[in-house]
Amino acid sequence: MYGSGEAQVIALRGVSAEFERGRFTAIMGPSGSGKSTLMHCLAGLDTVTRGTVQVGDTTVTGLGDAGLTKLRRDKVGFIFQQFNLLPTLTAKENILLPLSIAGRKPDQAWYDIVIDTVGLRDRLGHRPAQLSGGQQQRVACARALVARPEVIFADEPTGNLDSRAGAEVLNFLRNSVREHGQTIVMVTHDPTAAAYADRVVFLADGQIVSELIEPTAETVLDTMKKLDTPAEVAG
């Protein structure tokens, strides 16, 4: 449940889902289906009124602010639709920010791999304002990856990108799962983007209604059509 009193809107109801380690899972659903809320609850950004959320061996439910901060810092990485980089820091500083905050030293070998994979080596000294949207989102991806979190949550990561830049980012996310065993959960409403995932979970009206393994853009689109329920407006 989400909100209370008169404004009570039930965003998620009796959702029970598992997202396997080392896999790329997409959450799909029409606007208002509760997909973003589900991800926020998983990531400890939002709290559930009933039930539990577990990330790795950490029970997220019931953690205080300090615990949640630690969880976000050590176990979770984020990629947002609005790149969300700090304008005062260079690309490199943005990438290393979570590690600096945690006071951890980056693993140099892994850092090099990440930088080369996102192809940003010659852009590291630039500030976000000097980078294109696709480059900024790749910086955001690198920032999420470099700390080697147990799971990366990506909220519409390609929402603000053109199709080519979006494809670059999605390829890069899929490779990090395939080659480096990273776990990624991505929320999207774009069937093409969902097709990059290993598994797609479909949400409607706060409930899981369907699931696809090894999806393609076509199968995703078909499933979506079948689910075609009237869209509701929810917070």
């Binding site: 950004l45 300090a66 901060t69 304008p87 820091l89 905050i101 006071g103 920032r143």
Partner: protein, 851 residues
């Protein structure tokens, strides 16, 4: 458009409160000053009206010398008691009483110290019996010449009671009296306006307060029934002749109050000066707030333009907002000012005692001042951001980037020009090339310098902020904070500049006063050739004094070579009002002060002769042998022949002219106010000091100290002046702190999404607060650094200009300046508190979704 503005204003009320606060504080200062002086002014009117209620007509001799309230109490010349008979013979006079009432009756309290009044007169006079105004509370009237009655206020302050034997210092040396009565005034008052009163028998009062028998200095006349005060006054005036002044009771009280009101208006101007500083700082703050708000509203304003609003309408919208804030702030400031004025008036009356405070009034000047200042300042400060808002292109509504970095060239050039103008004005003013407007030119120069430096600040903020922030670069939140403070150079600069103004003024004044102190102290060490100094601390208009016989006795102590006492007073010399001195031992003066003659002989002074300073000689066109007329506080004008001219010595600068010892009898205080003791070489100071202390037993106003302690005591007065100035300037600093809070609060709002992101990737609450705090500390230390540098520069310029006045040593108070920087860091931490808490409380999810 009007509705859109109001809605937008209401939506931003929190951020506007802070900028409004700056105006409120400034307006409070202005209106508070007017309310205070108005209330006290009417209180004085009331006090004097009551004090002279029983007086229909008063007769006094024409004063020998006009003295204003800032210089001390007027000496009323004594006249023969026979005048009383002349007045009594005037038709229409029901009753005429001879009065002795003069300032300068100092009672020694039960603790052996003189009871002081800190300003109001210490009156000594003859007991005239009880009246509607004066009532004995205890005891009886004085019958013998060694009996006195005193007012209740004095009895309380001195902790003495009826039957006690107390010493009283008057024109003559200490004498002892028995208190036989204590009196109070109608309305259960213990004193009138805090004045201490000692009443003797008439002969004793004549001898002690006026210096000769059978004289009065005032006659109080009661009119027979049916005779108006004015006609009686004219009749009496005709009878006593031109040497006398006759005034009605109403005139008397108006004249008495007028003197005090003059002092009040001086005080008022000082308060308004500080209000001006506060408002200057407030202007910076409002300008900054509006700039930030316009930057944040770029999209909204662009949208207005896109849907057809004209540039003028956009300006109107911003200015309207300013008018609304200015109005509200003026009303609040006026209310707060009335409160503060009333509170200060109450405190004043409590400290002074014996005052029935007149009702708190709100003079028109307070209202006009409040609204004029509040509105004008706010609108002026908002004008620049409004013009900028009008230049926002409609396309900005569709673009993502809100505030592109504008180049700093224009503002830097403007800053350089304004700074140069300020420097030129300062040069003209300090160099004495400004004609008659020296003060205005200097103040204008300081103002221009502040504005100029504020305009230059964005340029220097980048490197300086980077250097300051380097301290924190090892710590991630610190580094982020430092980067944030360097993010918008204009915003940082103007916030820092607001703090700069207060700190620069404090630093500048500290530099000037410390330099003066150090120069005077060096000079005194070099030129005063005395091992011991007799002096006291002045706590009212009357300088402390002592019995001249002490010096004659001191001279007899083995090892004492010179014992010279100095008298001083204001006198009319020719047609100029000058400070003149006299010495108990003119022959020793040259040695004690290391004076050098420029003409004639300054080693001796016979009656009828005078020594003048070279400056006075030049100003008055005097040379050896010329004669000059001198009118002292008492007696008739005397003509003196110049027999010697001494070179102006900075330490002796106040004394324009030295008169023979005998002339001191006619000074307001006819007793020495300082004594200098020079010892034979090799005589231990410690041997002589206790013996002189013993001689001073009957002069409790003064004490004897060695030269170092004396210099310390004299220059110590500058310390209290400095303290007062600092307290008043603290307000300007408080406003600047509000500015920092405001800038940070707005920045936190602006960066909500960023803060959310940082929290999302693992920044702890405490780290978030640390980041905001570092930003605040960097800004405030930057401001303080600017202030210290600008202040030291201004101070050094003034000291340089005063070189000819004897301030020849520049002292930079490094320790103090360090303290200011430390304080600034603390200010930063305090200012960051609320914004940091707000930032730490940001809801992560809400912030990321924030648009």
């Amino acid at each position: 458009m009007f509705r859109a503005t109001l809605k937008s204003l209401l939506a931003r009320k929190v951020r506007l409160i802070l900028s409004g606060m700056a105006v409120v504080l400034g307006v409070m200062f202005v209106s508070g000053a007017f309310v205070l002086t108005d209330t006290l002014g009417r209180t004085f009117d009331q006090i004097f009206a009551e004090a002279y209620e029983d007086v229909d007509v008063s007769v006094a001799a024409k004063p020998k010398l006009a003295v204003n309230e800032m210089e001390g109490e007027q000496v009323q010349a004594p006249f023969p008691a026979a005048t009383l008979e002349t007045v009594r013979a005037v038709p229409g006079v029901a009753e005429a009483t001879g009065v002795v009432a003069a300032d300068g009756a100092l009672m020694i309290g039960s603790n052996g110290k003189v009871v002081t009044s800190f300003g109001p007169p210490q009156l000594g006079g003859n007991w005239l019996g009880e009246s509607d105004l004066v009532q004995l509370r205890e005891g009886r009237e004085p019958r013998a010449d060694d009996e006195i009655v005193i007012n209740k206020g004095l009895a309380t302050a001195g902790k003495v009671a009826v039957g006690d034997r107390v010493g009283v210092l008057t024109l003559g040396p200490r004498e002892d009296f028995t208190i036989v009565g204590v009196f109070g005034y109608s309305g259960d008052r213990d004193s009138i306006g805090g004045a201490n009163e000692v009443m003797f028998t008439t002969p004793a009062a004549q001898r002690l307060m006026l210096g000769e028998p059978d004289v009065f200095n005032n006659i109080v006349v009661t009119a027979a029934s049916g005779v108006s005060d004015e006609s009686l006054r004219d009749a009496v005036a005709a009878a006593v002749g031109d040497d006398y002044v006759a005034r009605t009771g109403a005139q008397l009280s108006a004249d008495a109050a007028a003197g005090l009101k003059e002092a009040l208006s001086f005080f008022n101007r000082i308060l308004l000066g500080f209000a001006a500083v506060a408002l200057l700082v407030g202007t910076f703050l409002i300008l900054n707030t509006f700039s930030i708000i316009v930057a944040q509203r770029t999209r909204e304003l662009a949208l207005l333009r896109a849907v057809g609003a004209s540039g003028k309408q956009v300006i109107g919208s911003v200015v309207l907002e300013a008018i609304a804030i200015g109005l509200i702030a003026s009303v609040l400031g006026l209310a707060a000012g009335i409160g503060v004025g009333a509170l200060l008036a109450y405190l004043f009356s409590t400290v002074a005692g014996g005052m029935t405070l007149a009702g708190v009034g709100v003079p028109a000047s307070a209202v006009i001042g409040a609204f004029g200042v509040g509105l004008v300042i706010t609108i002026l400060a908002a004008l620049l951001p409004a013009l900028r808002a009008a230049r926002i292109p409609p396309i900005a509504a569709m673009q993502d980037v809100a505030t592109p970095d504008r180049p700093l060239t224009k503002v830097t050039v403007a800053g350089a020009l304004v700074t140069a103008a300020g420097a030129t004005l300062l040069f003209l003013g300090l160099g004495g090339h400004a004609g008659g407007n020296t003060l205005a030119t200097i103040l204008g120069g300081v103002l221009f310098a502040f504005i100029g430096v504020a305009l230059l600040t964005p340029l220097i903020s980048k490197p300086v902020v980077a250097a300051l922030g380097a301290v924190f670069s090892g710590w991630v939140p610190g580094k982020l904070g430092r980067l944030n403070s360097g993010r918008n150079p204009r915003r940082t600069a103007i916030t820092a500049a607001a703090l700069m103004v207060g700190i620069a003024l404090v630093t500048g004044i500290t530099v000037i006063l410390d330099s003066a102190k150090s120069s005077i102290s060096d000079l005194a060490q070099d030129t005063v050739k005395a091992e011991l100094v007799i002096s006291g601390v002045q706590s009212g208009p009357r300088p402390p004094s002592f019995d001249p016989s002490v010096l004659a006795e001191a001279k007899k102590i083995p090892g004492v070579r010179i014992a010279d006492g100095q008298y001083g007073d204001m006198a009319m010399v020719g047609d100029q009002h000058l400070f003149v001195g006299a010495m108990t031992d003119p022959a020793a003066m040259r040695q004690v002060y290391s004076l050098e003659p420029t003409a004639g002989d300054i080693d001796r002074l016979a009656p009828g002769q005078t020594l003048v300073s070279s400056g006075t000689a030049q100003a008055q066109g005097l040379s050896i042998g010329s004669t000059v007329s001198v009118q002292l506080a008492r007696g008739e004008a005397q003509t003196y022949t110049v027999t010697g001219i001494f070179e102006d010595s900075p330490l002796f600068a106040g004394v324009s002219m030295v008169l023979p010892t005998e002339a001191a009898r006619d000074f307001t205080v006819p007793k020495p106010i300082q004594g200098f003791i020079q010892l034979d070489p090799g005589t231990p100071v410690a041997d002589v000091q206790p013996r002189i202390e013993a001689l001073l037993a009957d002069s409790p106003e003064v004490s004897v100290a060695n030269l170092d302690a004396f210099i310390e005591q004299q220059t110590g007065q500058l310390d209290s002046l400095l303290m007062m100035i600092r307290i008043l300037l603290a307000l300007a600093i408080v406003i600047a702190v509000l500015g920092i809070v405001n800038t940070l609060a707005l920045s936190v709002l602006e960066r909500t999404r960023e803060l959310g992101l940082l929290r999302a990737i693992g920044l702890r609450r405490s780290q978030t607060m640390g980041m905001i705090t570092v930003e605040a500390v960097v800004i405030s230390v930057f401001g303080a650094l600017l202030g210290v540098v600008v202040g030291a520069g201004l101070g050094a310029a003034v000291v340089e200009a005063l070189r000819d006045e004897g301030i020849n040593k520049l002292v930079l108070p490094w320790g103090q300046m360090g303290v200011f920087l430390g304080l600034a860091a603390l200010i930063g931490v305090i200012a960051a508190l609320v914004p940091a808490i707000r930032a730490a409380r940001i809801n992560v999810l809400g912030a990321i979704a924030h648009d």
